[in-house]
């Protein structure tokens, strides 16, 4: 029985080795490796996070090189849409050695939020160091309630 388990282990071990070799190969081939599990394709949409803080939801998105006026946010019920345009910052009169960045692009990304009850009047957003943070407060009915014991 135990020999079978160790055989299995060894098999998985060689799979690990193969996977790490493949990943290393991709590392040389595609500099965008590192974003995910090693097999990720370059994203043209910004990466996002969603947090649930009880009273509100918080959406964060990576939007480097975009200013406040370049980003649009739309909320309708539990539907959220973020769109933006990145202006090219390519300098004039320079010779390009390397252009990996995705400048002069636009994107739209939409979500259906997990909470039905968003107080759309009180949604706020901030943009700092290329990270967009949207705070979506829940309505009173959807907020967690403290229950007191009689």
């Amino acid at each position: 029985m135990w020999t079978t388990v160790s055989d299995l282990d060894r098999m998985f071990g060689s799979m690990d080795l193969l996977r790490s070799r493949m990943n290393r190969m991709l590392l040389d081939y595609d500099r965008f490796y590192g974003r995910g599990g090693g097999w990720a394709v370059t994203a043209t949409e910004p990466l996002t996070n969603l947090y649930d803080a009880g009273d509100s939801l918080e959406v964060k998105a990576e939007v480097p090189g975009m200013a406040r006026e370049d980003v649009n946010i739309k909320v309708q019920g539990n539907y959220l849409e973020i769109s933006g345009t990145r202006k090219s910052d390519t300098p004039e009169g320079y010779k390009a050695h390397r252009e990996e960045r995705d400048t002069e692009t636009s994107f739209t990304r939409s979500f259906t939020l997990p909470s039905e009850e968003i107080n759309t009047e009180k949604v706020s957003a901030s943009l700092k160091n290329g990270i967009l943070t949207i705070t979506l407060p829940k309505t009173e009915a959807a907020k967690p309630k403290q229950v007191t014991i009689n």
Binding site: D16, V63, K95, H97, E100
Partner: protein, 128 residues
């Protein structure tokens, strides 16, 4: 994002590795004209305090650390805390004293001016 590359169980290992920041290579644009080399690097979420640019003996190293301020539990997370690191070779003709860096909207803009001796010169031909 799943950073785990181990399929094999880890119980057997003697010491568990402490959690460290994943390292990422920031994407860059590099431009050059007669006066300077200009480098742009996308590093969203990196603050001025957590960014360092070092030039030593022809090696330029850009290191930025991003720590997200979050509240509540994550429903999904496509990006997280990360260490942006990238090294470059720079020609010795760069005037290190005049290098200046700007950080705006998560984009680092690094001016690497060439020293006077390295700039192209127009030679005037004197008439007799």
């Amino acid at each position: 994002m799943n950073e785990n590359t181990d399929i094999v169980k880890t119980e057997g290992r003697a010491v568990e590795q402490s959690r460290q920041l994943p390292t990422m290579t920031p994407v860059v644009d590099i431009y050059e004209n007669d006066n300077e080399i200009l480098l742009f690097a996308d590093m969203p979420g990196v603050t001025k305090e957590n960014l360092s640019v070092n030039i030593d003996n022809g090696k330029l190293s850009v290191l930025g650390i991003r720590r997200l301020e979050t509240a509540g539990s994550a429903s999904w997370e496509e990006f997280g805390d990360v260490e942006y690191l990238r090294n470059f070779s720079v020609p010795q003709t760069i005037d290190v004293a005049k290098v200046n860096a700007e950080l705006k909207d998560g984009v680092l803009k690094l001016h690497l001016p060439k020293s006077e001796a390295a700039k192209p010169k127009q030679i005037e031909i004197k008439a007799e």
